[in-house]
């Protein structure tokens, strides 16, 4: 088993929490994990990405080789496209559809959606709307994690378990909201992928 994931977004959007949940679930399943993060200058509202590699064999490189990534999981639509050179032919691109506009020349969103739909295995999820329904826009990153769950190669219950551990300090209410976000995200992806 091997899943190479690029997590994408804008500095401050919470991709490292997604990485932490998947990483912990992978370790609990005795898998090897390596996860390269971006710290420093780009975190000031710039494009950020994280390479997350999970495997039942030891992982050598901290970076995913171009053209061989199994999934791009993005919390922002334009950012999902920034890394398509890494995606393998059969890889999945799963992204939040809600743009994060902090630049003047942000392109026409429909053009972005068009490019995303050009990728055979792609899912556009309105994670912000789902998150708002679940209780807070802040959990839209976990909605996206839920949307990717069927393609991660990791037990769903392990993801739930690591959410409990990671958000445990913040109290039961926050844990429950994140678990709901995870489940609702998963369902939203299933509806999309059949339609």
């Amino acid at each position: 088993m091997k899943t190479d994931i690029i997590l994408a977004g804008v500095g401050g959007q919470g991709i490292l929490s997604i990485a932490a949940v998947i990483g912990m679930a992978a370790i609990d399943n005795d898998l090897y994990v390596k996860q390269a993060e971006v710290h420093g200058m780009s975190q000031r509202g710039g494009a950020v990405q994280s390479h997350l590699r999970i495997s039942d064999q030891p992982v050598h490189s901290d970076l995913i080789p171009a053209g061989s990534c199994d999934m791009i999981l993005s919390v922002e639509p334009m950012e999902s496209l920034r890394y398509v050179s890494f995606l393998s032919e059969k890889g999945w691109l799963i992204t939040n559809s809600k743009p994060f506009v902090n630049i003047n020349d942000y392109p026409d969103v429909e053009k972005i959606y068009g490019e995303i739909r050009n990728i055979p295995n792609s899912l556009l999820i309105d994670a912000d709307a789902i998150a708002a329904e679940v209780g807070s826009r802040k959990v839209s990153n976990i909605v996206m994690l839920g949307a990717s769950a069927d393609y991660l190669g990791i037990d769903f219950s392990s993801l739930e378990q690591s959410i409990r551990v990671i958000f445990g300090r913040k109290g039961e209410e926050i844990v429950q909201m994140n678990i709901n976000a995870l489940n609702t995200g998963k369902k939203a992806a299933r509806v999309q992928s059949v339609s």
Binding site: M41, R44, G45, H60, S61, G67, N102, P107
Partner: protein, 532 residues
């Protein structure tokens, strides 16, 4: 033993804690910052009263660590690559004084300049000062080599330099801990002249350092940090330094390559190992993150019978960090490229946060400078450097920490009026104060704006030595009181602030404008924590 999932930086920190340090000394700098932050948060470190307060700059950090070592305890000093330029005087001379308690100098290089002004390679500093250099390849080695480096330092009675690069510093993997070692007792050096580098003493000590070199090389062959991995395909021998080993192994596993490999994690690289690999293979391919240091060592300037390839020959790119793709290509493998990035994707460079005080400062400064035209604002390193980008286009230089004040002075000496310096609060106490003193002594016409957000913002909001001290520091340095002016950079004060700056630009002497308003990131973090 415990298995932890740690960043390379965190593994170094845990290795140092478990290795028995009594102090870490550092100034923040990407990609090294998380080492000290981890120790600041660590419960064991708190129990052991390990010193972990930030230092004013890398030089003060290096010297304080040397002082702790003098007193017999183990100390770690951390910095980014350019920080070692600031600490270089202390560092190079610490190789002459030698150490008492184990001293490890951790330097994190930033090839590809993700967050830096250059991509200098700190291994050269190791060679320059003639101390051993360790270069881990993965997170476990970050832990293990740091843990063992203190013993190595005490064995030679020399500082040991540990070098990592951005990818390893900021990538996470599982790490297994070793036994927690006891801290050392306070104990002054046996030889009371060891640290006195008067020429007569220094000459003797330098001879000693030279005499140690063969032992250091022999250890690099025998301690096991360097190793030769056998391989059947002798058409090529691979020399893989530090993290480059991972990229080679990634490619070798995927494409079933089986070349002999010299894995290098300990310098000076033993000649015998290089010779063995060179004589048993048809050519050498050198993979190193940073400058082609080992490649240059092998090729020198004269032609030899050995064929050596690497960054100098163009088989690998001359600049930038390595990755599995460039490593595969250097091995003659056609890598499958993924899709092209669609043209609609726009750049999203880092930017000043909404509501940042630097924005209001720049708006006022730009307006005040309007009558004079562009090209006269010397700036420095920090979030405020983003004032270089549109829509501000407010600054004309960013060179090294502190250079804003001194470059403005030099330009003013050359007749440029007004000459303006824009510097952050933490950068000012890092190395702006001394330059300001130069200007005060000569009454050089410069306008210094200290954009004070009361934190070290760019590196994530560490405490700033400058907070609540700027006014007194400037007074103490001798700036005339009526030309030290505090302003509040808020939109509603724009006109008033513009006028104040305009008045000071016209003044033929030193003026300092302290524009203070808390960083909105640290402010919101503080509010969140207060709620808890």
């Amino acid at each position: 033993m415990d298995k932890l999932v740690l960043l390379g930086d965190e593994a170094i920190a845990q290795g140092a804690i478990d290795g028995g340090i009594s102090g870490v000394y550092a100034y923040p700098g990407t990609p090294s910052t998380e080492i000290t932050e981890y120790i600041q948060r660590s419960k064991i470190a708190a129990q052991r009263k390990i010193h972990s307060e930030w230092s004013a700059n890398e030089k003060t950090a290096m010297e304080a660590a040397l002082g702790m070592s003098y007193a017999g305890k183990r100390a770690l000093v951390c910095m980014k690559h350019v920080g070692l330029n600031v600490a270089a005087d202390a560092f190079i001379n610490s190789a002459i004084t030698g150490i008492n308690g184990g001293l490890v100098v951790l330097v994190a290089d930033d090839p590809s300049m993700h967050s830096s002004q250059n991509e200098q390679d700190s291994r050269f500093y190791g060679k320059f000062s003639m101390v051993p250099v360790l270069e881990p390849a993965n997170q476990q080695e970050c832990y293990d080599l740091t843990y063992k480096a203190f013993g190595l330092s005490e064995k030679y009675k020399l500082p040991v330099l540990v070098r990592v690069t951005t990818r390893l510093a900021h990538s996470r993997a599982g790490v297994i801990r070793r036994q927690l070692l006891p801290q050392k007792e306070t104990m002054i050096p046996e030889d009371h002249t060891q640290f006195i580098l008067l020429p007569a003493f220094a000459r003797k000590r330098y001879r000693g350092l030279l005499d140690q070199q063969p032992d250091m090389e022999a250890d690099a062959a025998s301690l096991g940090f360097n190793m030769i991995q056998q391989g059947k395909d002798r058409s090529r021998g691979i020399i893989a330094c530090g993290i480059a080993y991972n990229y080679y192994m990634e490619v070798a596993t995927r494409y079933q390559l089986d070349h002999p490999v010299l894995k290098v994690s300990h310098y000076p690289v033993p000649t015998a190992m290089l010779q063995e690999l060179a004589d048993s293979t048809e050519e050498l391919l050198v993979m190193e993150e940073g400058y082609p240091m080992v490649e240059e060592l092998l090729t020198g300037v004269l032609k030899t019978k050995y064929r050596v390839r690497g960054r100098l020959t163009g088989d690998l790119p001359r600049d930038g960090e390595l990755n599995p793709g460039v490593v595969a290509r250097s091995l003659g493998i056609q890598v499958q490229e993924g899709r092209d990035i669609p043209q609609v994707v726009a750049n999203r460079p880092p930017a000043l946060c909404k509501g940042c005080s630097h924005i209001d400062m720049y708006n006022a400064l730009n307006e005040a400078l309007q009558p004079y035209g562009p090209g006269r604002v010397f700036s420095d390193i920090g979030c405020y450097t983003l004032g270089a980008l549109p829509p501000y286009n407010a600054i004309n230089s960013c060179v090294d920490m502190g250079a804003s004040v001194t470059m403005a002075k030099g330009a003013s000496d050359a007749g440029l009026r007004p000459a303006v310096a824009v510097i952050g609060d933490s950068t000012f106490t890092h190395s702006g104060m001394t330059g300001l003193l130069d200007a005060v002594i000569e009454q050089t016409p410069v306008t210094v704006i200290i954009s004070d957000n009361s934190t070290t913002g760019m590196t994530g909001g560490q405490k700033s030595h400058a907070t609540n001290r700027l006014l007194n520091i400037c007074k103490g340095l001798g700036v005339e009181e009526k030309h030290i002016i505090e302003i509040n950079p808020l939109k509603k004060h724009h006109d008033e602030n513009t006028q104040i700056i305009a008045d000071e630009l016209a003044y033929e002497g030193v003026s300092v404008i302290i524009a203070s308003r808390e960083c909105i990131q640290t402010a919101s973090r503080r509010k969140k924590e207060a709620k808890k």
